[in-house]
Symmetry: none
Subunit: 401 residues, 2 copies
């Protein structure tokens, strides 16, 4: 089912405001049998009060058992079926460093590598060269010039950098040049379909010039290219929902994901407090606000249960700042679970809370992994969350007569 | 997934009886925070007793957040995916007034309008002309004659009437002639695809004759045509489920919807009591009974919480009449929610109860919005209800060996 076929037809004008707070990696696990999850261990009086006014459920990011990356995790929350819409690796990497992709751009993840005297790869990651050394090398590749093509080279971290090609007729389907082995030369870029032949040719020229520019470098004397990807064609929030949407995020990845669905990136907040200020300042200009909170994920990734509890309490503490704005719909959710116990993204459903005047409260008094499975939203796929948001905001007309 | 592909293959013969009671707009909302819904406020000893014998769940009419009209709401309950099967506006309007569409018919919603001396529309609804004045005008249009085409003109209400065209080769894809504006002339009917060119031509001739017949009328001196629609191609209950099905409804719309899926319309009941009599009289002749109760919806639409409570209690009171017949499967559900709080159809899941000898009771002692979310049927899409009905009736064989 194409949800946007419905929302495009049914969305209506309204002055209502929707706030979606995404606590990255919100869901967790007990560290010991019978113990609490991070969200259960945290003191969250504000979220619990909202729980008693609202309706909650367990959001399935992609499908049962599937742990998503940040890309599909957020696409689902934004209402874009993460199995239908795929952000290619290169495009996600570019997005993650804040590069603003234009329509038709092709983004490529590159790894510095070390070639031996015979031109065979002896280290696929150039000895994990430190960023201080690799960044200037990446920048030196900005000297590459190919007629008719605008080229961007952006350092990332250690051996990684991004190349973006801009020009006419560039397809995104080109094979990786990393042979995934040492003792062999890098592969040539080969188009996987006719529409990407120009990209393959441009990549070949880029590699040829890069080989000269990097010649003589002790470690990073060449690089591979992987994850060729066009800018994904995502319809905008305005098109599919009729919403003027703003993203209030700290990290480039989440700003980038929001930009891909047509949200404006507002403010330059570095803290939750500042994010709240930006929310207030922009309240009148937008219908929908995406507020991203990173630290429930990063502490989970670190396996630091206590730190994740503390970060969760920080988030709870600012909820009154949001409710003071009287949003018509307030959603608190996560793009996936990141249990400290697993130190990674996981497939577990994500506690998700929706508060509105017409949300049919479900009698829950707390908000966590245990309560959400008894909530009135049931278990639902994240991609439906935006339909629920619009409906509760009085922004969806009736389907059929 | 096409559910009917499964049920067509798997349905078996049985003497079992299924009764589906549809309380239109059954689901509700509290009027004040912490208050009861209509169904919770109602005294429903019979439904509660059934709840303790049965299994309940929260039915999602179309998709989370989507409020359906009566058409998609009932199609879902009847097991026809409401996103796959669409009843066009004209066909639904004809159905709603009890017009029995034949295969190949094209139904058109018409609005009387007022043209000024220059032929521009000055009132798109002919001053909302009262039905007493508009009905005779609609009937006067039965004089329109077009060779090879059988034409039906049926008054509806105020400025609205229905035209049905019957003949060979009439497609249903023709653009509205209502320009959605005043000060401009009505549009010509234009086919949206080659198969509907004949329909557009016939409509043009109809409009030309109507213009002459209505000339000189002070208000309704012309009309527009909207929502051209063929009779929807819905497979029948007998085909997809092997069921002889009867509809016991009071209002034409629900009789019409039932007819579209091949149910027989039995009796001429005007009250619940009479519907129960019709049920008894027809018990032996059918396998499946659809009993429609309108007033939980109409009171909700009126925003009259107390009246909806009272109507719910009325419905509860007749349940012993149904259980006395010993149906093998008894279902109580709604096609959507109509909370008095919202005065409209809504997206909220609908409390749904199924009672059979093999239904795996879920320990619930009441039947309402709060209990259904903890029921054994979970949250489920309405389109699966008929599968559950057939299974509980011993009418579905095993899938695969």
């Amino acid at each position: 089912m194409d949800i946007h076929k419905l929302t495009r037809d049914l969305h209506t004008k309204s002055k209502s405001k929707i706030v979606m707070v995404v606590a990255d990696g919100l869901g967790g696990l007990p560290m010991t049998p019978g113990g609490p999850t991070e969200l259960e261990a945290a003191k969250t009086p504000n979220l619990d009060m909202l729980a008693s006014r609202g309706v909650q459920g367990a959001s399935i990011p992609v499908a049962p058992g599937i742990a998503p990356g940040s890309g599909p995790g957020h696409l689902g929350l934004f209402g874009y079926d993460p199995l239908q819409y795929v952000i290619g690796r290169g495009a996600l990497e570019a997005t993650g460093i804040g590069f603003e992709l234009a329509d038709g751009d092709v983004a490529i993840r590159c790894n510095f590598c070390t070639l031996d005297a015979d031109g065979n790869i002896c280290d696929r990651r150039a000895g994990r060269i430190p960023t201080e050394e690799s960044a200037p090398l990446a920048i030196s590749l900005r000297q590459v010039a190919i007629p008719g093509i605008e080229i961007f080279v952006e350092p990332v971290k250690e051996h990684r950098f991004v190349v973006v090609l801009r020009g006419e007729g560039l397809g995104g389907h080109v094979r990786d040049t990393d042979p995934q082995a040492t003792g062999v030369p890098p592969l040539d870029p080969v188009a996987e379909e006719p529409g990407s032949e120009k990209t393959a040719e441009v990549a070949k020229q880029f590699l040829a010039q890069a080989r000269q520019l990097l010649a003589g470098q002790p470690k990073a004397n060449f690089h591979t290219m992987r994850g060729f990807a066009s800018k994904p064609a995502l319809p905008s929030y305005r098109d599919v929902y009729g919403l003027r949407a703003a993203a209030i995020a700290v990290y480039p990845m989440y700003k980038g994901l929001a930009r891909l669905v047509g949200m404006d990136i507002v403010g330059q907040a570095q803290t939750l407090e500042q994010q709240m200020e930006v929310l207030q300042q922009n309240w009148d200009a937008y219908d929908f606000f995406f507020i991203h909170f990173k630290y429930t994920d990063s502490t989970g990734e670190d396996g630091n249960f206590d730190a994740k509890v503390k970060r969760t309490e920080e988030l709870d503490a600012i909820m009154p700042r949001i409710t003071a704005m009287n949003p018509d719909v307030l959603i608190v959710t996560g793009d996936h679970s990141t249990p400290a116990y697993l130190k990674s993204h996981s497939w577990h459903p994500v506690p998700t809370l929706l508060v509105s005047d017409c949300c049919r409260p479900d009698g829950q008094k707390q908000f966590n992994e245990s309560t959400c499975i008894h909530g009135g939203l049931g278990h639902f796929e994240a991609k439906y969350l935006m339909c629920l948001a619009l409906a509760n905001a009085g922004r969806l007309g009736k389907y059929g007569a």
